[in-house]
Symmetry: C2
Subunit: 203 residues, 2 copies
Amino acid sequence: MNETKQKILDVALDLFSQNGFSAVSIRDICKVVDIKESSVYYHFKNKQAILDELLQHFESIATGLMNQLEQALTITQKTIEENLFEQTCDCFFEKYLMDEYCNKIMRLLSIERLSNYEMQKIYNYWIFDKPLNFQTKVFSLLISIGIIKTADSKYLAVKFYAPIYLFAQQWLFCGTLTDEHKQFFRGNAYEHINNFFKEMEGI
Amino acid sequence: MNETKQKILDVALDLFSQNGFSAVSIRDICKVVDIKESSVYYHFKNKQAILDELLQHFESIATGLMNQLEQALTITQKTIEENLFEQTCDCFFEKYLMDEYCNKIMRLLSIERLSNYEMQKIYNYWIFDKPLNFQTKVFSLLISIGIIKTADSKYLAVKFYAPIYLFAQQWLFCGTLTDEHKQFFRGNAYEHINNFFKEMEGI
DNA sequence: TATTGTACCTAACAACTGTTAGATTGTCAA
DNA sequence: TTGACAATCTAACAGTTGTTAGGTACAATA
Protein backbone atom coordinates (compact mmCIF):
# COMPACT_ATOMS: atom_id res chain seq x y z
CA MET A 1 0.00 0.00 0.00
CA ASN A 2 1.02 3.58 -0.73
CA GLU A 3 3.03 5.22 2.05
CA THR A 4 1.05 8.46 2.14
CA LYS A 5 -2.26 6.63 2.07
CA GLN A 6 -1.16 4.51 5.04
CA LYS A 7 -0.08 7.62 6.90
CA ILE A 8 -3.47 9.23 6.30
CA LEU A 9 -5.19 6.14 7.68
CA ASP A 10 -2.95 6.04 10.76
CA VAL A 11 -3.37 9.72 11.58
CA ALA A 12 -7.09 9.65 10.84
CA LEU A 13 -7.66 6.73 13.21
CA ASP A 14 -5.58 8.41 15.88
CA LEU A 15 -7.66 11.59 15.71
CA PHE A 16 -11.03 9.88 15.15
CA SER A 17 -10.50 7.70 18.21
CA GLN A 18 -9.94 10.75 20.39
CA ASN A 19 -12.48 13.20 19.05
CA GLY A 20 -14.97 11.24 16.96
CA PHE A 21 -15.43 11.18 13.20
CA SER A 22 -17.31 14.45 12.66
CA ALA A 23 -15.17 16.48 15.07
CA VAL A 24 -12.01 15.79 13.04
CA SER A 25 -11.54 17.75 9.80
CA ILE A 26 -9.65 16.69 6.71
CA ARG A 27 -7.34 19.63 7.40
CA ASP A 28 -6.63 18.37 10.93
CA ILE A 29 -5.43 15.11 9.42
CA CYS A 30 -3.41 16.87 6.71
CA LYS A 31 -1.58 19.06 9.21
CA VAL A 32 -0.13 15.96 10.86
CA VAL A 33 0.52 14.02 7.64
CA ASP A 34 2.00 17.22 6.16
CA ILE A 35 0.14 17.27 2.84
CA LYS A 36 -2.45 19.62 1.33
CA GLU A 37 -6.08 18.71 1.86
CA SER A 38 -6.77 18.12 -1.83
CA SER A 39 -4.19 15.31 -1.84
CA VAL A 40 -6.44 13.25 0.40
CA TYR A 41 -8.93 13.05 -2.45
CA TYR A 42 -6.38 11.36 -4.65
CA HIS A 43 -6.30 8.39 -2.24
CA PHE A 44 -9.89 8.45 -0.97
CA LYS A 45 -13.23 9.23 -2.57
CA ASN A 46 -14.25 11.32 0.45
CA LYS A 47 -13.93 11.58 4.22
CA GLN A 48 -16.36 8.73 4.81
CA ALA A 49 -14.19 6.39 2.70
CA ILE A 50 -11.33 6.78 5.18
CA LEU A 51 -13.57 5.61 7.99
CA ASP A 52 -14.93 2.74 5.90
CA GLU A 53 -11.46 1.45 5.12
CA LEU A 54 -10.42 1.65 8.79
CA LEU A 55 -13.46 -0.32 9.89
CA GLN A 56 -13.09 -2.90 7.16
CA HIS A 57 -9.49 -3.55 8.19
CA PHE A 58 -10.53 -3.90 11.82
CA GLU A 59 -13.22 -6.44 10.99
CA SER A 60 -10.73 -8.58 9.09
CA ILE A 61 -8.29 -8.51 12.01
CA ALA A 62 -11.01 -9.27 14.55
CA THR A 63 -12.43 -12.10 12.46
CA GLY A 64 -8.99 -13.69 12.25
CA LEU A 65 -8.40 -13.45 16.00
CA MET A 66 -11.79 -14.86 16.89
CA ASN A 67 -11.33 -17.77 14.49
CA GLN A 68 -8.00 -18.48 16.17
CA LEU A 69 -9.77 -18.57 19.54
CA GLU A 70 -12.54 -20.86 18.27
CA GLN A 71 -9.91 -23.30 17.05
CA ALA A 72 -8.49 -23.57 20.57
CA LEU A 73 -11.77 -25.31 21.45
CA THR A 74 -11.49 -28.07 18.84
CA ILE A 75 -8.17 -29.60 19.85
CA THR A 76 -7.86 -32.73 22.00
CA GLN A 77 -9.44 -32.55 25.45
CA LYS A 78 -6.24 -32.90 27.45
CA THR A 79 -4.67 -29.80 25.97
CA ILE A 80 -7.80 -27.68 26.23
CA GLU A 81 -7.22 -26.51 29.76
CA GLU A 82 -3.64 -25.40 29.19
CA ASN A 83 -4.26 -23.93 25.78
CA LEU A 84 -7.44 -22.04 26.62
CA PHE A 85 -5.89 -19.84 29.24
CA GLU A 86 -2.92 -18.88 27.09
CA GLN A 87 -4.97 -18.33 23.97
CA THR A 88 -7.54 -16.17 25.74
CA CYS A 89 -4.88 -13.94 27.23
CA ASP A 90 -2.79 -13.71 24.06
CA CYS A 91 -5.55 -13.34 21.47
CA PHE A 92 -8.19 -11.46 23.41
CA PHE A 93 -6.12 -9.34 25.77
CA GLU A 94 -2.84 -8.64 23.99
CA LYS A 95 -3.81 -8.76 20.33
CA TYR A 96 -7.33 -7.39 20.68
CA LEU A 97 -8.17 -5.17 23.66
CA MET A 98 -4.60 -3.89 24.07
CA ASP A 99 -3.60 -3.82 20.42
CA GLU A 100 -3.04 -0.21 19.38
CA TYR A 101 -5.09 -0.47 16.20
CA CYS A 102 -8.01 -2.46 17.60
CA ASN A 103 -8.10 -0.38 20.75
CA LYS A 104 -8.41 2.85 18.75
CA ILE A 105 -11.16 1.40 16.58
CA MET A 106 -13.11 0.38 19.68
CA ARG A 107 -12.76 3.87 21.14
CA LEU A 108 -14.03 5.32 17.88
CA LEU A 109 -16.95 2.88 17.81
CA SER A 110 -17.84 3.76 21.39
CA ILE A 111 -18.33 7.36 20.27
CA GLU A 112 -20.09 6.73 16.98
CA ARG A 113 -22.44 4.06 18.31
CA LEU A 114 -24.38 6.76 20.16
CA SER A 115 -25.58 8.44 16.98
CA ASN A 116 -25.05 5.83 14.25
CA TYR A 117 -27.02 2.60 14.22
CA GLU A 118 -24.57 0.80 11.92
CA MET A 119 -21.70 1.58 14.29
CA GLN A 120 -23.80 0.45 17.21
CA LYS A 121 -24.29 -2.92 15.56
CA ILE A 122 -20.56 -3.33 14.93
CA TYR A 123 -19.73 -2.31 18.51
CA ASN A 124 -22.30 -4.68 20.01
CA TYR A 125 -21.12 -7.55 17.87
CA TRP A 126 -17.39 -7.29 18.60
CA ILE A 127 -17.55 -6.10 22.21
CA PHE A 128 -20.59 -7.88 23.63
CA ASP A 129 -22.12 -10.61 21.50
CA LYS A 130 -19.06 -12.30 20.05
CA PRO A 131 -16.98 -12.48 23.29
CA LEU A 132 -20.01 -13.55 25.36
CA ASN A 133 -21.01 -16.23 22.85
CA PHE A 134 -17.47 -17.53 22.78
CA GLN A 135 -17.26 -17.74 26.58
CA THR A 136 -20.65 -19.46 26.68
CA LYS A 137 -19.25 -22.09 24.31
CA VAL A 138 -16.16 -22.47 26.49
CA PHE A 139 -18.19 -23.12 29.63
CA SER A 140 -20.59 -25.47 27.82
CA LEU A 141 -17.54 -27.47 26.77
CA LEU A 142 -16.01 -27.46 30.25
CA ILE A 143 -19.34 -28.67 31.64
CA SER A 144 -19.68 -31.40 29.00
CA ILE A 145 -16.24 -32.86 29.76
CA GLY A 146 -16.91 -32.72 33.51
CA ILE A 147 -14.40 -30.07 34.58
CA ILE A 148 -17.26 -27.91 35.82
CA LYS A 149 -20.41 -29.25 37.45
CA THR A 150 -23.72 -28.43 35.80
CA ALA A 151 -24.39 -24.70 35.66
CA ASP A 152 -25.89 -21.98 33.49
CA SER A 153 -23.11 -21.48 30.93
CA LYS A 154 -24.58 -18.18 29.71
CA TYR A 155 -24.57 -16.62 33.17
CA LEU A 156 -21.12 -18.05 33.81
CA ALA A 157 -19.94 -16.25 30.67
CA VAL A 158 -21.33 -12.95 31.97
CA LYS A 159 -19.69 -13.44 35.37
CA PHE A 160 -16.40 -14.24 33.67
CA TYR A 161 -16.45 -11.53 31.02
CA ALA A 162 -18.07 -8.59 32.86
CA PRO A 163 -15.08 -7.85 35.15
CA ILE A 164 -12.74 -8.03 32.16
CA TYR A 165 -14.95 -5.56 30.30
CA LEU A 166 -15.04 -3.29 33.36
CA PHE A 167 -11.25 -3.33 33.74
CA ALA A 168 -10.85 -2.66 30.03
CA GLN A 169 -13.16 0.36 30.20
CA GLN A 170 -11.31 1.59 33.27
CA TRP A 171 -7.76 1.20 32.03
CA LEU A 172 -7.71 0.63 28.28
CA PHE A 173 -10.41 2.98 27.00
CA CYS A 174 -9.58 6.19 28.80
CA GLY A 175 -7.07 8.81 27.73
CA THR A 176 -4.23 7.27 25.73
CA LEU A 177 -3.25 3.61 25.91
CA THR A 178 -0.07 3.67 28.06
CA ASP A 179 2.16 0.85 29.27
CA GLU A 180 1.23 1.77 32.84
CA HIS A 181 -2.49 1.38 32.15
CA LYS A 182 -1.83 -1.89 30.34
CA GLN A 183 -0.10 -3.20 33.46
CA PHE A 184 -3.04 -2.16 35.64
CA PHE A 185 -5.37 -4.02 33.31
CA ARG A 186 -3.20 -7.15 33.21
CA GLY A 187 -2.87 -7.19 36.98
CA ASN A 188 -6.61 -6.99 37.56
CA ALA A 189 -7.73 -9.20 34.67
CA TYR A 190 -5.27 -12.04 35.32
CA GLU A 191 -6.07 -12.04 39.02
CA HIS A 192 -9.78 -12.25 38.19
CA ILE A 193 -9.27 -15.21 35.84
CA ASN A 194 -7.27 -17.09 38.47
CA ASN A 195 -9.84 -16.42 41.18
CA PHE A 196 -12.65 -17.40 38.88
CA PHE A 197 -11.26 -20.84 38.09
CA LYS A 198 -10.24 -21.45 41.70
CA GLU A 199 -13.81 -20.78 42.82
CA MET A 200 -15.21 -23.05 40.13
CA GLU A 201 -13.07 -25.97 41.20
CA GLY A 202 -14.45 -25.58 44.68
CA ILE A 203 -18.07 -25.95 43.56
CA MET B 1 -35.52 29.32 35.89
CA ASN B 2 -36.33 30.96 32.60
CA GLU B 3 -38.36 28.77 30.26
CA THR B 4 -36.21 29.38 27.18
CA LYS B 5 -33.00 28.83 29.10
CA GLN B 6 -34.32 25.49 30.37
CA LYS B 7 -35.32 24.52 26.82
CA ILE B 8 -31.82 25.34 25.57
CA LEU B 9 -30.31 23.16 28.29
CA ASP B 10 -32.67 20.26 27.51
CA VAL B 11 -32.09 20.36 23.76
CA ALA B 12 -28.35 20.87 24.17
CA LEU B 13 -28.04 17.82 26.42
CA ASP B 14 -30.12 15.77 24.04
CA LEU B 15 -27.87 16.63 21.09
CA PHE B 16 -24.58 16.58 23.03
CA SER B 17 -25.35 13.09 24.35
CA GLN B 18 -25.82 11.78 20.83
CA ASN B 19 -23.09 13.56 18.91
CA GLY B 20 -20.64 14.95 21.43
CA PHE B 21 -20.05 18.57 22.44
CA SER B 22 -17.98 19.82 19.50
CA ALA B 23 -20.09 18.10 16.85
CA VAL B 24 -23.20 20.05 17.88
CA SER B 25 -23.44 23.69 16.79
CA ILE B 26 -25.29 26.51 18.49
CA ARG B 27 -27.47 26.68 15.39
CA ASP B 28 -28.35 22.98 15.70
CA ILE B 29 -29.67 23.69 19.18
CA CYS B 30 -31.50 26.85 18.07
CA LYS B 31 -33.32 25.07 15.25
CA VAL B 32 -34.97 22.76 17.79
CA VAL B 33 -35.61 25.43 20.43
CA ASP B 34 -36.85 27.74 17.66
CA ILE B 35 -34.88 30.87 18.50
CA LYS B 36 -32.13 32.79 16.72
CA GLU B 37 -28.57 31.88 17.61
CA SER B 38 -27.79 35.28 19.15
CA SER B 39 -30.50 34.71 21.76
CA VAL B 40 -28.47 31.93 23.29
CA TYR B 41 -25.87 34.50 24.29
CA TYR B 42 -28.41 36.34 26.39
CA HIS B 43 -28.73 33.27 28.64
CA PHE B 44 -25.20 31.87 28.41
CA LYS B 45 -21.77 33.46 28.21
CA ASN B 46 -20.75 31.00 25.47
CA LYS B 47 -21.19 27.43 24.27
CA GLN B 48 -18.94 26.03 26.98
CA ALA B 49 -21.15 27.59 29.68
CA ILE B 50 -24.08 25.42 28.54
CA LEU B 51 -22.01 22.31 29.06
CA ASP B 52 -20.72 23.53 32.43
CA GLU B 53 -24.24 24.14 33.72
CA LEU B 54 -25.39 20.69 32.56
CA LEU B 55 -22.50 18.98 34.31
CA GLN B 56 -22.91 20.99 37.50
CA HIS B 57 -26.57 20.03 37.70
CA PHE B 58 -25.69 16.38 37.18
CA GLU B 59 -23.13 16.40 39.95
CA SER B 60 -25.64 17.85 42.40
CA ILE B 61 -28.20 15.15 41.49
CA ALA B 62 -25.62 12.36 41.69
CA THR B 63 -24.28 13.61 45.02
CA GLY B 64 -27.80 13.60 46.47
CA LEU B 65 -28.52 10.07 45.27
CA MET B 66 -25.25 8.67 46.56
CA ASN B 67 -25.78 10.30 49.95
CA GLN B 68 -29.20 8.67 50.08
CA LEU B 69 -27.57 5.30 49.40
CA GLU B 70 -24.88 5.83 52.03
CA GLN B 71 -27.59 6.53 54.60
CA ALA B 72 -29.15 3.14 53.93
CA LEU B 73 -26.01 1.69 55.51
CA THR B 74 -26.30 3.57 58.82
CA ILE B 75 -29.74 2.44 59.92
CA THR B 76 -30.31 -0.40 62.41
CA GLN B 77 -28.85 -3.75 61.43
CA LYS B 78 -32.14 -5.61 61.13
CA THR B 79 -33.50 -3.35 58.45
CA ILE B 80 -30.28 -3.26 56.45
CA GLU B 81 -30.95 -6.37 54.44
CA GLU B 82 -34.44 -5.36 53.35
CA ASN B 83 -33.59 -1.73 52.78
CA LEU B 84 -30.38 -2.25 50.86
CA PHE B 85 -31.92 -4.17 48.00
CA GLU B 86 -34.75 -1.69 47.50
CA GLN B 87 -32.52 1.35 47.82
CA THR B 88 -29.92 0.05 45.42
CA CYS B 89 -32.53 -0.70 42.76
CA ASP B 90 -34.46 2.51 43.24
CA CYS B 91 -31.57 4.98 43.65
CA PHE B 92 -28.93 3.43 41.47
CA PHE B 93 -30.97 1.78 38.73
CA GLU B 94 -34.14 3.84 38.36
CA LYS B 95 -33.03 7.31 39.46
CA TYR B 96 -29.44 7.13 38.17
CA LEU B 97 -28.61 4.73 35.32
CA MET B 98 -32.11 4.84 33.83
CA ASP B 99 -32.97 8.44 34.63
CA GLU B 100 -33.27 10.39 31.37
CA TYR B 101 -31.10 13.29 32.51
CA CYS B 102 -28.36 11.28 34.21
CA ASN B 103 -28.29 8.75 31.41
CA LYS B 104 -27.72 11.46 28.80
CA ILE B 105 -24.96 13.06 30.87
CA MET B 106 -23.20 9.70 31.16
CA ARG B 107 -23.41 9.18 27.39
CA LEU B 108 -21.94 12.64 26.88
CA LEU B 109 -19.16 11.94 29.39
CA SER B 110 -18.38 8.65 27.66
CA ILE B 111 -17.63 10.61 24.48
CA GLU B 112 -15.79 13.54 26.00
CA ARG B 113 -13.64 11.46 28.36
CA LEU B 114 -11.63 10.23 25.36
CA SER B 115 -10.21 13.68 24.58
CA ASN B 116 -10.76 15.68 27.76
CA TYR B 117 -8.98 14.79 30.98
CA GLU B 118 -11.42 16.71 33.19
CA MET B 119 -14.35 14.76 31.72
CA GLN B 120 -12.43 11.54 32.17
CA LYS B 121 -12.05 12.26 35.87
CA ILE B 122 -15.79 12.98 36.26
CA TYR B 123 -16.69 9.83 34.34
CA ASN B 124 -14.34 7.64 36.36
CA TYR B 125 -15.59 9.05 39.64
CA TRP B 126 -19.32 8.62 39.03
CA ILE B 127 -19.24 5.42 36.98
CA PHE B 128 -16.36 3.42 38.47
CA ASP B 129 -14.90 4.73 41.73
CA LYS B 130 -18.00 5.89 43.59
CA PRO B 131 -20.19 2.83 42.86
CA LEU B 132 -17.33 0.39 43.51
CA ASN B 133 -16.37 2.09 46.75
CA PHE B 134 -19.98 2.02 47.89
CA GLN B 135 -20.35 -1.68 47.12
CA THR B 136 -17.06 -2.39 48.90
CA LYS B 137 -18.50 -0.67 51.99
CA VAL B 138 -21.69 -2.71 51.69
CA PHE B 139 -19.82 -6.01 51.61
CA SER B 140 -17.49 -4.99 54.43
CA LEU B 141 -20.58 -4.28 56.50
CA LEU B 142 -22.26 -7.57 55.56
CA ILE B 143 -19.07 -9.39 56.51
CA SER B 144 -18.76 -7.54 59.83
CA ILE B 145 -22.30 -8.45 60.92
CA GLY B 146 -21.79 -12.06 59.88
CA ILE B 147 -24.20 -12.32 56.94
CA ILE B 148 -21.27 -13.14 54.64
CA LYS B 149 -18.29 -15.23 55.66
CA THR B 150 -14.87 -13.61 55.45
CA ALA B 151 -13.99 -12.59 51.90
CA ASP B 152 -12.26 -9.87 49.87
CA SER B 153 -14.89 -7.14 49.89
CA LYS B 154 -13.21 -5.21 47.07
CA TYR B 155 -13.26 -8.16 44.69
CA LEU B 156 -16.82 -8.96 45.78
CA ALA B 157 -17.77 -5.42 44.78
CA VAL B 158 -16.26 -5.93 41.31
CA LYS B 159 -18.05 -9.24 40.87
CA PHE B 160 -21.31 -7.63 41.93
CA TYR B 161 -21.01 -4.39 39.97
CA ALA B 162 -19.31 -5.53 36.73
CA PRO B 163 -22.33 -7.40 35.31
CA ILE B 164 -24.56 -4.43 36.15
CA TYR B 165 -22.15 -2.14 34.31
CA LEU B 166 -22.06 -4.54 31.35
CA PHE B 167 -25.86 -4.72 31.14
CA ALA B 168 -26.07 -0.94 31.42
CA GLN B 169 -23.60 -0.48 28.55
CA GLN B 170 -25.50 -3.05 26.50
CA TRP B 171 -29.03 -1.74 27.03
CA LEU B 172 -28.94 1.73 28.52
CA PHE B 173 -26.06 3.40 26.70
CA CYS B 174 -26.79 2.51 23.10
CA GLY B 175 -29.10 4.35 20.71
CA THR B 176 -31.93 6.03 22.59
CA LEU B 177 -33.12 4.99 26.05
CA THR B 178 -36.38 3.12 25.31
CA ASP B 179 -38.81 1.35 27.65
CA GLU B 180 -38.00 -1.91 25.89
CA HIS B 181 -34.27 -1.54 26.61
CA LYS B 182 -35.04 -0.57 30.21
CA GLN B 183 -36.96 -3.82 30.62
CA PHE B 184 -34.06 -5.82 29.18
CA PHE B 185 -31.74 -4.17 31.66
CA ARG B 186 -34.08 -4.71 34.62
CA GLY B 187 -34.56 -8.36 33.69
CA ASN B 188 -30.85 -9.07 33.52
CA ALA B 189 -29.73 -6.89 36.42
CA TYR B 190 -32.37 -8.08 38.91
CA GLU B 191 -31.72 -11.71 38.03
CA HIS B 192 -28.00 -11.15 38.59
CA ILE B 193 -28.57 -9.59 42.02
CA ASN B 194 -30.79 -12.49 43.10
CA ASN B 195 -28.29 -15.09 41.87
CA PHE B 196 -25.44 -13.24 43.52
CA PHE B 197 -26.96 -13.28 46.99
CA LYS B 198 -28.16 -16.87 46.63
CA GLU B 199 -24.61 -17.97 45.84
CA MET B 200 -23.23 -16.00 48.77
CA GLU B 201 -25.58 -17.63 51.23
CA GLY B 202 -24.29 -20.98 50.04
CA ILE B 203 -20.68 -20.13 50.85
C1' DT C 1 12.05 12.33 -27.66
C1' DA C 2 7.19 12.21 -26.86
C1' DT C 3 3.54 10.28 -24.05
C1' DT C 4 1.37 8.56 -20.16
C1' DG C 5 0.26 7.99 -15.37
C1' DT C 6 1.23 8.94 -10.50
C1' DA C 7 1.26 11.86 -6.76
C1' DC C 8 1.10 15.95 -5.35
C1' DC C 9 0.00 21.10 -5.58
C1' DT C 10 -2.72 26.07 -5.70
C1' DA C 11 -6.90 28.21 -5.47
C1' DA C 12 -11.43 28.51 -5.01
C1' DC C 13 -16.66 27.27 -3.95
C1' DA C 14 -20.63 27.45 -0.87
C1' DA C 15 -22.00 26.26 3.40
C1' DC C 16 -21.27 26.35 8.28
C1' DT C 17 -18.79 27.75 12.78
C1' DG C 18 -18.81 30.71 17.47
C1' DT C 19 -19.57 35.15 18.66
C1' DT C 20 -20.77 40.22 18.73
C1' DA C 21 -23.00 44.96 17.95
C1' DG C 22 -26.95 47.14 17.80
C1' DA C 23 -32.01 47.42 16.86
C1' DT C 24 -36.68 45.98 18.20
C1' DT C 25 -40.29 44.39 20.96
C1' DG C 26 -43.34 43.70 25.23
C1' DT C 27 -44.05 44.45 30.16
C1' DC C 28 -43.77 46.52 34.06
C1' DA C 29 -42.99 50.67 37.88
C1' DA C 30 -42.77 55.74 38.43
C1' DT D 1 -46.91 58.87 29.53
C1' DT D 2 -42.30 57.94 30.32
C1' DG D 3 -38.44 55.16 31.30
C1' DA D 4 -36.20 50.95 32.35
C1' DC D 5 -35.56 46.41 31.87
C1' DA D 6 -35.89 41.65 29.93
C1' DA D 7 -35.92 38.91 25.99
C1' DT D 8 -35.61 38.56 21.55
C1' DC D 9 -34.32 39.86 16.89
C1' DT D 10 -31.35 41.21 12.28
C1' DA D 11 -27.04 41.34 10.35
C1' DA D 12 -22.54 40.78 10.15
C1' DC D 13 -17.46 39.24 11.39
C1' DA D 14 -13.59 36.14 10.57
C1' DG D 15 -12.51 31.63 10.50
C1' DT D 16 -13.45 26.59 9.31
C1' DT D 17 -15.75 22.86 6.78
C1' DG D 18 -15.90 19.09 2.74
C1' DT D 19 -15.02 19.04 -1.86
C1' DT D 20 -13.61 20.18 -6.71
C1' DA D 21 -11.23 22.05 -11.02
C1' DG D 22 -7.24 22.45 -13.03
C1' DG D 23 -2.17 22.87 -12.89
C1' DT D 24 2.76 20.98 -11.96
C1' DA D 25 6.60 17.92 -11.29
C1' DC D 26 8.62 13.59 -12.07
C1' DA D 27 9.16 8.86 -13.20
C1' DA D 28 8.47 4.99 -16.44
C1' DT D 29 7.17 3.53 -20.97
C1' DA D 30 6.75 3.74 -26.15
